[in-house]
């Protein structure tokens, strides 16, 4: 079920009502969350529910096994490790088969079998959200192994933790340390939290359905036949894709986090105004935070992180970015995108400047300085160049895109497909930028509100009208669903 569908508009109020009717019965409430989440997921394809259930059960059992073996035989560290690795391998095998097998088989065939791979390909359908819930389940067993959390005995709460529908298909990737305890204790309804959640959802819908989808109309057109257009059109499409992917994914995250608040659950922040970053290191602290911190905590730090020799730090950084790229999809373009960012990041981490900008830009001021503006623009442009790799269908297409873009950059102005579409993009992007700039130091990008109810409601209605009057009416799925 998509957030931007009629079905969800019916589903959410019904689930909300039943959920709070059950608020005095924790077990039933959690069981209802699981049932609603499975219905939400099964709306797409019920067969893959078995896969989620299997992953969940394995991680639940591995948590208990790790804990019991480490408490009954504390001196023997091999058993907990065995259970941990068994669960990791199992989860990664499932992920690998569904997501990466065909890609590596095709790459192998391209290299050694003259490209003919048809007889070894599986052509499996990629289960929606598999990368997200697999990582969430994995973090639980690793945290139990590390002793960061005690394993839960409440299997229903654990199922609710893995399958909680707002964040099941595209994150934020939650940690058991933060989300599981919320399912183990009774939730109480909070009016300010629920209202804030609805507000955040509204903002998410605006970013997805107006900003991102409007940009997509232009972007899809250009990326389909880049050679038909001049360089400035290609540059505009790259810039608009940069905005599209942010609006799409951060919009999804806002809807998910806001939706969870309606149920009294707090999810972690996933985006923190990444395009207001002054360098690439700051960008990566603000972009897809739940994934970058996952890689940091479970791969980068165990590899030694930045407390090892400089060449090793460089290697660790490279590995993390390549894996992060590959996580996004089974295509060399994602690996190249990861490598591109690693190359931008390496000079900063080797010179120790990667943590230079930890505060919010222009803190306590209305406007940034000229220097800050230049830094933000440069970071944004670097991100734009990277997103071309991400959006392209193949490395060859990306190279052709760059080459055509730079060689014909000054051959005329960008081609616009429709005046109305151009205005919608312009106005919605300006609204998004202004609002997010004003909220850059807040809990989320639509947190700060005027005191006057008239002004507040007026702005909400304006956003609703922009959604209803200017959305793209073809149903457009979220980009990150494919990951």
């Amino acid at each position: 079920m998509l957030f931007n569908s009629i079905e969800f508009m019916v589903f959410l109020p019904l689930v909300f009502a039943v959920y709070w009717l059950l608020h005095k019965r924790l077990w039933w409430q959690n069981a209802f969350v699981v049932a609603a989440s499975y219905l939400f997921y099964g709306w797409w394809d019920w067969r893959f529910l078995l896969l989620i259930a299997f992953t969940t059960l394995c991680s639940y059992a591995s948590g208990l096994a790790i804990y019991h073996s480490s408490t009954t035989q504390p001196s023997d560290g091999s058993k907990p490790k065995l259970y941990l690795w068994a669960n990791i391998l199992l989860n990664l095998t499932i992920l690998g088969v569904f997501k990466y097998y065909d890609f590596f088989a095709q790459s192998f065939a391209d290299a050694f079998l003259g490209g003919n791979a048809e007889h070894i390909l599986l052509h499996l359908v990629l289960p929606v959200g598999i990368s997200f819930y697999t990582f969430q389940a994995l973090s639980y067993s690793i945290d139990v192994y590390r002793g960061s959390i005690r394993p839960t005995r409440d299997v229903v709460a654990f199922f609710a933790y893995v399958s909680f529908f707002p964040q099941l298909v595209a994150g934020p990737i939650e940690r058991a340390t933060s989300l599981l305890p919320q399912f183990e204790r009774q939730r109480t309804f909070s009016y300010p939290l629920a209202v804030d959640g609805m507000r955040q959802m509204l903002w998410g819908f605006f970013k997805k359905m107006v900003v991102a989808d409007s940009c997509a109309l232009y972007v899809d057109n250009i990326f389909e036949h880049p050679d038909w257009f001049n360089g400035s059109s290609l540059l505009l499409a790259a810039v608009l894709f940069t905005i599209q992917i942010y609006g799409d994914f951060s919009g999804y995250s806002d809807i998910a986090i806001g939706c969870a608040k309606l149920f009294g659950i707090r999810l972690r922040r996933n985006f923190n105004v990444p395009y207001f970053s002054r360098d690439i290191a700051e960008f990566w602290r603000r972009w897809h935070i739940s994934l970058t911190t996952w890689f940091r905590d479970y791969i980068y730090i165990p590899m030694g992180g930045s407390r090892v020799s400089k060449p090793r730090v460089a290697l660790n950084t490279m590995v993390i970015f390549l894996v992060s790229g590959l996580w996004h999809g089974a295509n060399w373009t994602f690996v190249a995108w990861g490598a591109f960012h690693a190359l931008l990041f390496l000079p900063l981490i080797v010179s120790g400047k990667n943590r230079k900008y930890r505060d919010v830009v222009a803190a306590g001021r209305w406007l940034p300085t000229l220097r800050e503006t230049g830094q933000m623009l440069l970071t944004f442009l670097l991100a734009v160049m990277g997103w071309v790799l991400f959006r392209a269908d193949s490395i060859e297409q990306a190279i052709a895109y760059y080459s055509h873009m730079f060689s014909t950059l000054f051959e005329g102005t960008p081609v616009l497909t429709s005046t109305m579409d151009a205005w919608v993009v312009l106005v919605s992007v300006v609204v998004m930028t202004v609002v997010e700039w004003a909220n850059r130091d807040c809990e989320h990008e639509f947190h700060r509100q005027p005191r006057s109810r008239t002004l507040r409601w007026g702005f909400y209605i304006l956003l609703l009208f922009m959604i209803g009057g200017y959305m793209v009416t073809n149903e457009m799925p979220f980009i990150y669903f494919q990951f």
């Binding site: 009629i6 709070w20 309804f189 009016y191 629920a194 209202v195 109305m420 579409d421 919608v424 409601w457 909400y460 209605i461 609703l464 009208f465 209803g468 009057g469 200017y470 959305m471 009416t473």
Partner: protein, 307 residues
């Protein structure tokens, strides 16, 4: 919780009123992307629906998309002694045909119905035709149901705007569509004559034909309506240019599906893409003439059986 419910209801009311007002104001200026606010277009549905009141108890009613109103030349059939009306409209899918049938079938009271079906139309979401119908024809209860069932914002906004346009401002009644637009001319009786040929050679990638479940169900509903009134019908597929037709991978499947619903006619005539076609999926004058001369023979046989 009570506070949330109370404020949500209050907000929903204020938002609904303000939204509607904004839609009316900005819609008048054509500033709403997801609403069609201009009446009239090259499909001439507006003229057709006004013209319909001049026709009662016709021999044949033609239904369908532009393949229908650009092919079944009502002048030719009249010259053959067959009284008829063409109720086709742009991209008309069975969902909209049902709305039109409910509104006009009884007044037209046809003896026979020719229902044009096309693979591209059967997989169409019907949004373009729905907004055309809502802005150019009087809003009925069936049209309202159809608008809300699509769940499409463009259709719902157009319905809302059109309601205001028709019930408050009476603009539909006072609007007169030009009978000639660019190269298209409305001919009384529902036919639209296109005077320019714009055939371009194109390579279509081969693809499988599909049928949307809601269109299939609507088609069945339309036919049930005809059966209720004992009106015999024929499903007709007008041939496309070879360059498009050859891209359909499973046309036999489509034919078989249509045959399950009743008499179905798909006859390939020896037509040449560059001579007989206006574009890939519409016949041009010489093609239309050949098609109608061939079709009228079958049609007369069907009508003869009724007497």
């Amino acid at each position: 919780m009570r506070r949330l419910i109370r404020n949500t209801i209050l907000f929903a009311l204020v938002a609904a009123v303000t939204y509607t007002l904004l839609l009316f104001v900005l819609g008048d200026w054509g500033w709403v992307r997801t609403a069609r606010t201009e009446m009239g277009n090259r499909g001439f549905l507006n003229s057709r629906v006004k013209d319909i009141h001049n026709y009662h108890n016709v021999d044949v009613l033609f239904l369908g998309s532009s393949h229908s109103y650009r092919t079944f030349d009502t002048r030719f059939y009249r010259s053959e002694g067959i009284s008829c009306f063409n109720l086709g409209s742009s991209n008309q899918t069975p969902v909209q045909t049902y709305v039109l049938l409910k509104a006009y079938l009884d007044s037209l009271n046809p003896k026979y119905v020719v229902f044009e079906v096309h693979p591209d139309i059967m997989k169409n979401d019907g949004v373009e035709c729905a907004v055309d119908l809502l802005i150019n024809t009087p809003i009925t209860w069936e049209a309202t149901k159809m608008a809300w069932q699509t769940g499409n914002m463009k259709v719902i906004n157009t319905w809302l705007y059109s309601l205001y346009n028709q019930k408050v401002r009476h603009r539909l009644q006072h609007f007169t569509e030009d009978s000639i637009m660019d190269d298209a001319e409305y001919i009384p009786g529902g036919y639209v004559e296109i005077n320019t040929k714009e055939f371009v050679r194109k390579r279509y990638s081969s693809h499988h034909l599909t049928i949307r479940p809601e269109q299939w169900q609507a088609l069945q509903r339309c036919l049930a309506l005809l059966k209720e009134r004992d009106i015999p019908y024929m499903l007709v597929e007008v041939q496309d240019a070879y360059q498009l037709r050859s891209a359909f991978k499973n046309h036999e499947w489509f034919e078989a599906k249509m045959r399950t619903l009743g008499p179905y006619r798909y006859k390939l005539l020896p037509l040449v893409d560059t001579i007989h076609f206006c574009n890939s999926n519409h016949l041009f004058k010489p093609g239309i003439e050949i098609f109608n001369k061939d079709f009228v023979v079958d049609l007369k046989k069907e009508l003869a059986q009724l007497k």
